[in-house]
Subunit: 326 residues, 2 copies
């Protein structure tokens, strides 16, 4: 599968992964599970969202300098979404940009973050607050990595898969409404959908790519207020999708009952659908107003109207958000 | 003057500067000298190369978040090269890229760094080791800022002006070989030359833009080993141009006697032409091998053959560099 972008194109290939050419950057989990795919000169960082910060970014750049990496060196981002985003941002900026290959090892990274060229890191104030649009040279998708993925991480990725179902492809909702869902077909379908969206709206300026943010306005705020410690990304956006659909219902944008359908599709895979009542509504709204989609502090969200139909809704009244959160 | 680049184009306008639309980022020197051009909500950082680091980068991003800056906000980079490079890199990466306007206030920034879209910051290991290619919306050149520029900073910019003379435009050597050199004409001529080079080779892949690095391989190494405390950038590249021309002579690439001519043109404006004998040759070479132009540790330099003719020379033998440095 070829993805076109403004600077050229790259291939997404589906095959068994050995070792790609370049300096591998991965995390301790992957290095422990797949020693034969992690060369001895790899740069290995602690696993988890808390590594996606300026200090690890700086560490990787300095390790590259120690290894004598020049602007012709290639990076291999072997791991989940954190590795892909972080290493992609290093690649985008080290010596003003060097080539990199994405090898996503989690369901979440395979269906979502490895395609589309969005790279970046978190600041203490929020997720992905600095970053770039920077395309890899190649994405290698090997679904056998999913065999060692903990159940909770699989669920996490399923939340994004189900998201594709709700925003653009109702068939995916049927395909994943069973516990023995077909991995290769599902992953490749999601990547195809993501690639289509990204090709149509690379820089998120046409109101199409922003659909992918369904569940993410609330989800990011939850993740941030719980300091990424309580929920996986998928769990947070699972709750986010349910609440955002409630907002859509309250606005009269979505058909009545859609919230329950969205919640059912997620609950089937053990994903959470209710927000922790201890989370302060005021804090959630404050964080949401810093979201990249919001404009001058007005809330904007990608809302689903019915299965397969999504739209960016601007100026969502705070009162409605409060009601949906309670 | 319009500069075309891969993502579009921007205008370089020559006029008196008041206040541009957006959030101004400047340094303490500029804020002190031009209070009426620095709005009260500006972000003000300490002056000097030592601010061009990840920690100030992070500080500016966090100040932008405090001011509620969204992806539609615009930054105004008001200051010298450090401000332009640093604020440009913030603009390139804050929320994956927001618009910015360059208002260069030093001769160096006006003739060099404000045009071409190179933005970035230093790491402890070296200058400009992380960054992007990111074009401004507009560059506003107001040569009246030069009236308050200290003599040493004017000299610093003159080193780059004289560099344009040696690499592409011998007429500039005549124009600047007088103490009452014409500022507006000189600045606009240099910008025109820079814009031409940048349009022809935006991403430094065609061996043209790299000409601009004449004097910089040695110059950067000197700056770094002296921790940016001994020489201005212009002084360092002034020494760098003389030594690199000596290398060109030793290689038989340049005509005999060119080193003296280059040195004379710089000495006329009080610029240094000799390296501090206390600097370790081994350390200089070690730093140069990390230079972005070097490939697998082989030294590469842009060398002048005769006035107005420059070329990237690869695999410069270390022995020749040592001889030129002694």
């Amino acid at each position: 599968m070829i993805v076109q972008h403004s600077q050229g194109s790259y291939e997404i290939s589906f095959h068994s992964y050995s070792i790609a050419n370049g300096i591998t950057v991965t995390d301790e989990n992957v290095a422990g599970l797949y020693p034969s795919q992690v060369p001895s000169d790899s740069i290995i960082i602690p696993a988890g969202e808390s590594s996606k910060n300026l200090s690890t970014y700086s560490f990787i750049c300095q390790e590259l300098l120690k290894r004598g990496a020049t602007r012709k060196s290639q990076l291999v981002a072997l791991g989940g979404g954190v590795i892909g985003d972080l290493v992609g941002f290093v690649a985008a900026t080290y010596m003003r940009g060097i080539p990199f290959v994405q090898v996503p090892t989690t369901l979440l990274a395979q269906v979502d973050s490895s395609v589309g060229g969005k790279v970046g890191i978190d600041l203490p104030e929020g997720k992905n607050l600095v970053g770039s649009f920077y395309a890899p040279q190649q994405v290698i998708v090997d679904t056998s990595f999913l065999n060692t993925l903990p159940e909770r991480q699989l669920q996490c990725g399923l939340a994004e898969v189900i998201k594709y179902g709700w925003i653009v492809d109702p068939d995916l909702l049927k395909a994943t409404n069973r516990h023995d869902w077909e991995r290769f077909e599902t992953v490749s379908r999601c990547i195809q959908l993501k690639a289509q969206v990204v090709v149509e709206d690379e820089f998120e300026t046409k109101g199409i790519r922003v659909w992918l943010n369904f569940g993410h306005t609330i989800g990011h705020a939850i993740e941030q207020l719980t300091e990424y410690k309580v929920h996986t990304h998928g769990e947070a956006i699972s709750i986010g999708m349910v609440i955002e659909t409630r907002i859509a219902e309250l606005l009269g944008f979505a058909e009545v009952g859609l919230t329950d359908q969205v919640a059912d599709s997620l609950r089937f895979h053990g994903l959470p659908t209710k927000i922790d009542p201890d989370l302060s509504v005021d804090s959630l709204i404050r964080v949401m107003r810093l979201d990249k989609k919001s404009d001058s502090g007005e809330l904007a969200m990608s809302l689903v109207q019915k299965a397969g139909v999504c739209q960016l809704v601007k100026n969502v009244p705070q009162q409605v958000v409060r009601e949906a959160l309670l």
